[in-house]
Amino acid sequence: MSDSLVAAVSILFFGVAYGMVLYLVSVGLSVTMGLMGVVNLAHGVFATAGGYVATALMMSFGVPFLPAVVGGMIGAVILSIPLEWLLYRRLYGGDELDQVLLTIGLVFMSVAVCKFFWGPLAQPFQPPQWLSGSITVAGRQFPAFRSFVILAGAVVFAVLWLGLERTRFGAQIRAAVDNRRMAQSVGINTSQLFTWTFALGSALAALGGSLGAEILAIEPAYALEHLVYFLIVVSVGGLGSIRGPFFAALLLGVADTGFKYLLPDFGAFFIYAITLVVLLVRPRGLFGLA
């Protein structure tokens, strides 16, 4: 293979793996923002929670990798339902400044809580034996764990896409995103719908957090450190969409990796530039509802 082709394959592979993690964490944020109109800056907290629960299960209790990831998702759901009832419910349709202040407060609290229980260090994460090392595809080696992350992201995207298009629950979500009052008046229990969508979004964030622990290390400030990227994925992708964040996350992941690979000295400069241009041309994001 020529050198530039080798570089392109590397960028694409690592970029897609990174993008998948961003997608898993952000898709729930996109749907809940579109659905409930809540600017939930604390969404990353559920990814952090999932990551901490999963790594703790693996490292301290010897739980195998996949059950530990599921455990992390369950943990995030258990955390999200009371939070939705107690706090988020009061914000629906409310003042945006209130939403931002409350949710950023939750982020700071989560940073302190994680530090208190787990200490300030990034959690040690060891992928299971069957996912360490690399696999060979077309005469080229790819790290096995990242290949698995890509696969998992693609499967989740397909399931969500089909679920939203083909199931009754999905139809209800679409209806409520389009016009909440109309959905309510035709008899959809939007309050219950919100709770379950919120829980689903949190579970997906937890999945992203624990699957992506090697790419975005699980540490107390996780929800704050990566918040900007989650928000970029959502705003570039467009609110309330499943497809939008997917392509936005891939674009962001590949571009970020590519610029780090080719022009490391510029850091994250180009990502912000791309975001700016996309939002200037399409203020509602690539797939946003007009």
């Binding site: 040690p124 360490s132 790290p143 090697e214 490391p264």
Partner: protein
Amino acid sequence: MHKLLVSAPALLIAFGTAASAQTVKIGVINTLSGPDVQQGEMLERGLELYDKLHAKDLGGVKVELVKRDDTGLNPDTAKRLAQELVTRDHVNLITGFVWSPNFMAVAPVATQGKVPMVSLNAAALPAVGMSPFMVRTSFTLTQQAYPLGKWAAKQGYKKAYTAATDYAPGNEGAAAFTKSFTEAGGQVIGSVKFPAPPQTPDFAPFLQKVKDAKPDVLYVFVPAGAQATSVLRAVHDLDFKGAGITVISTEDLDPDEEFPNIGSLGVGLVTSGVYDSDATRPGNKEFVADYYKQYGTKLAPDFETADAWSGMKMIFDMIKATKGKFTGEQAMDFFSHYKDSNGPKGEWLIDPSTRQIVQNVYMRRLEMRNGKLFDTEFDNLGLMDAMGQPYAAK
């Protein structure tokens, strides 16, 4: 007004020293919280241990440690803490310093207040030259990376790549390696820089770039601690071994306390360094035994612990020699001529002309014995000065 402000600390110190002859106040600026607390913890242990075991040998002079937390790579915070320690707490000297940028930031305080600053870890080469009141008992990256480049060329590696964290010690080590490797006839075909703390970078894409370039050998540097394990895991996952790329480093890539996490990922890794806890020197055996007695065997002491221990020994010896009554100049004069023949790191001394540390640089290899990782010294390159050149006493 400005003049007054500058001279006030100096006055206060002179006054403070005279008034409390029997108590020496030592300020400690260390990283006690934040994402990089692991390094601060390893340093703290060496410092505390020496204080605990040897406070009684000071002939009645009391030592009071005044501890401050710089929370990580924060030069501004470190400078503010140093100013407060000097003007408010009237400390006689300041030690600690995990981070080079933090250490360099306190240079003006050292000069203006005539307060000695003893770095127990910060390693950037130019730091001690920035004030006549600065000295270190750790190492410089050049000291380890320059001989390493020479060694690598001698092994027959022709094409090298460098990868290092983008801050002073990282860039300095990569430059030193590049210099000696090229001087010895090798070729450095590229370099990458990792984002500096507090970011925890994803190393794999950077290392993939290295792999794609197909060098014979990769010189890599990251600040010690958990990042070392992440790098070694990425190297393993990308199968550098299969691609015929040897990874070598300075001792930051195999800090002893990370061995349980590194495990089989590290087997065969060659590093140049000044300290490993498995060394069989008598000075080290004694130190390691004391350490395990105090802290248990869960975390092995690493170079930060040994450097902190050595630094405290130097400071305590100075206090003993002056009976606790010293000016900044007197302390610096003592430090500049300091020699220790039997420390955990072996023989070491401070070069009077540069105030830089001179010590043995060892070549080490990680080996697995009975399921446990050991760092085995297979070559002693002898006493090296801060530039990584063999030291000849002047």
